[in-house]
């Protein structure tokens, strides 16, 4: 155990969540800028994909980890965003930023339609409904093939890069920028009044309602935020894949995103990056190299990713429900302790403010899971 004494004031993280999160985002941005400069085109492309899935996972993570709801069809909301962007590009030529916002808004609107009936009740309704939604969505594009481009789907042109910037790098920057902005917004959301009421609803709906939290509205807001994140991810995914069809968004995508969330650490915004690594690399590179090592036959290698994700979901839930980020935090707490700086005397207003604000972990989220209330089965 390493004990670290009070840090000098310049080395301390800002106390305001907004500044702290902004600092993290800027540091992340600088890190990614230099990383993209040193990577090859293909690796940059992968980095972009990482950012995209991190957005979808982070949204789901906020929904599940801090609001105690679950979406089994996050991949379907990704599809809604992707189709929205593709339709806008086919029919209208509007600014890319607006297209991406529209993708997020459309997915959020669909999320609203799902959430309003499902969140009125406590129970497995939202889970079942989102699974049904994920399975039903591909049938819409079959039925209205003219509009959705049928089996071929719709093509999306990559955004044109300004000046002499490499187009792949430009797209990666756009994706990374969106990911950082989304995470900044999510982290701030969690530190705000909304985040506190999300957690209150998760922990005890009745107590939250008694404390003046509008439970149903709260759950709807959390779900819409999560689906909007998925929609934005879908729009960004469409830009890098260049084509949008139903084959791109099977049920397994929803499962991959869910498994990414569970592995990364449910409720942790930063943990979404760990999960995203899994979602990007396991279905392709890792299963290929494992297949070559262990000589899988073609049936096993075709299904390896799906089996692995299923096993990850089950094993993580049984063994380590707080995920990698939970483990990192645990390790951090075991290894290093910061002694809290003493407040200078006379500065009462500051310490009062501090007392009013509950102490939060560094990325503004919590890995703890909602307490059980399923003991009394009925």
């Amino acid at each position: 155990m390493i004990k670290i004494g009070p840090l000098p004031s310049w080395a301390r993280l800002p106390r305001q969540p907004l500044l702290r999160h902004l600092l993290f985002a800027v540091v992340g941005g600088v890190f990614f800028y230099f990383l993209t400069q040193s990577l090859s085109d293909f690796n940059n492309f992968e980095l972009g994909e990482l950012a995209v899935y991190a957005i979808a996972i982070a949204g789901l993570s906020v929904l599940t980890g801090t609001n105690g709801q679950i979406c089994l069809g996050q991949g379907a909301f990704v599809a809604v965003g992707a189709y929205t962007l593709a339709e806008l590009e086919v029919h209208q030529s509007i600014n890319l930023a607006l297209q991406l916002l529209a993708a997020a808004a459309m997915a959020g609107a669909v999320g609203l339609v799902i959430a309003v009936p499902a969140t009125r009740l406590r129970g497995p309704y939202l889970a079942g409904m989102t699974l049904l939604f994920a399975l039903a969505l591909p049938f819409l594009s079959d039925k209205y093939g003219n509009f959705f481009g049928g089996d071929q789907g719709l093509t999306v042109l990559p955004p044109s890069a300004p000046g002499s910037i490499d187009p792949v790098k430009w797209l990666t920057w756009i994706q990374l920028f969106c990911a950082l902005v989304v995470m900044l917004l999510l982290a701030n959301l969690l530190s705000s009044r909304f985040g506190r009421s999300f957690r209150a609803v998760r922990d005890d709906e009745v107590a939250a309602a008694l404390a003046g939290v509008h439970v149903a509205r709260n759950k709807v807001i959390a779900f819409v935020v999560s689906s909007a994140c998925a929609g934005l991810a879908g729009g960004l995914l469409a830009l890098s894949s260049g084509v949008v069809n139903t084959g791109e968004f099977p049920l397994s995508l929803s499962i991959f995103i869910l498994a990414g969330m569970v592995l990364g650490g449910t409720g942790s915004v930063f943990g979404a990056w760990w999960g995203s690594i899994l979602v990007v690399y396991l279905p392709n590179q890792w299963s290929q190299s494992l297949g070559n090592t262990f000589h899988f036959n073609h049936l096993v290698s075709a299904n390896f990713a799906v089996i692995a994700f299923g096993a990850i979901l089950i094993v993580m839930m049984l063994v380590a429900p707080s995920g990698i980020q939970g483990g990192v935090r645990w390790l951090g707490r075991r290894l290093v302790t910061f002694s809290t700086p003493t407040e200078p005397a006379g500065n009462i207003s500051v310490s009062l403010q501090q007392a009013a604000e509950p102490q939060r972990s560094h990325d503004g989220s919590e890995a703890e899971h909602p307490p059980t209330d399923s003991g009394a089965a009925g």
Partner: protein
């Protein structure tokens, strides 16, 4: 008119299949407050086992029994190994575990039997019966579906109402602590409940397979239709599951018959939304107060 009659008959047969999956969901939900999202995938696995047994040339009925027996075993094993550890955790943990099991079993089935679409034999002829002089879209196999699902429902009803085991299972579901104090082995009965639910699922798997393409994902939609049916019936009422299944089957048959088959999943989604908006507690559910 003839189209309407045919669609209705088809809807009833299809709906009873949903009923039998929904019955499995309800049995588990009543006892453990968990929706088993792997119910369909477990049924898929037992049906694939029956498919392999059939390939050995032993005939339909031995394979049928093997599938039901495997269902019993699988349900018990899943409860003991995967569900029991998350039983007293937050409800989301169980959702994630059963959902993970769904995809895991589908992957395993794909790795063993391949992801190709196959055909699965039916126990009886699937040609429409001739009533008077007109052929109707209701076959011997559809009669078998009706008989099998009703028999299963009656068996479950008798078990719960008239046997000691059933009484204990009801007690374990209704008041686990009190039942445990009175000497009921609650844990064992929960395992038994899962096993029975998996048998209901296995039966459904065998009944669905001949009427659709047979591949590892073939129970996915059936599962969500059955979920709709179970919600419609109130989630904790076996009778509700039966009736909910038939209503869902009829509704989807009309959507499929008049608007096109590819709108059926959307129809189910709309039905679910309407039910949750209008009567979220379902048709047959007892009004309950949630304890704080």
């Amino acid at each position: 008119m003839r189209l309407f009659v045919n669609i209705t008959l088809g809807g009833v047969a299809e709906g009873l299949i949903f009923s039998s999956v929904a019955l499995g969901l309800v049995l588990i939900f009543r006892a453990t407050n968990i929706i088993n999202f792997a119910q369909g995938a477990m049924a898929m696995l037992t049906t694939f086992i029956a498919f392999s047994v059939l390939g050995k040339g032993v005939g339909y009925w031995p394979a049928f029994l093997v599938a039901l027996a495997c269902g019993l075993l699988l349900g018990g094993v899943v409860q003991l190994t995967l569900v029991r550890p998350v039983q007293n955790k937050p409800p989301l943990n169980a959702v994630i575990v059963t959902f993970g099991l769904l995809i895991f079993l589908e992957g395993i089935a794909g790795a063993i039997w391949g992801n190709t679409n196959r055909g699965f034999p039916a126990a009886f002829s699937q040609k429409g019966l001739v009533v008077g002089k007109t052929a109707v879209a209701f076959s011997h196999f559809d009669i078998f579906i009706v008989v099998a699902v009703l028999a299963l429902s009656i068996l479950v009803g008798v078990l719960f109402r008239f046997t000691t085991v059933g009484l204990r299972m009801r007690a374990a579901a209704f008041a686990p602590e009190a039942a445990r104090l009175l000497g009921v082995r609650v844990g064992r009965l929960l395992t038994l409940g899962w096993a029975l639910a998996a048998v209901a699922g296995a039966l459904a798997g065998l009944l669905v397979a001949p009427t659709s393409v047979f591949s590892p994902g073939y129970m996915d939609l059936i599962l969500v239709y059955a979920f709709t049916a179970a919600v419609l019936g109130g989630l904790d009422s076996p009778l509700g599951a039966l009736v909910g299944g038939v209503i869902t089957g009829l509704a989807l048959a009309y959507v499929g018959g008049y608007l096109g088959g590819s709108l059926q999943p959307i129809g189910a989604l709309v039905l679910l939304i309407v039910v949750l908006m209008i009567r979220p507690e379902g048709i047959f559910s007892q009004p309950t107060a949630r304890r704080v």
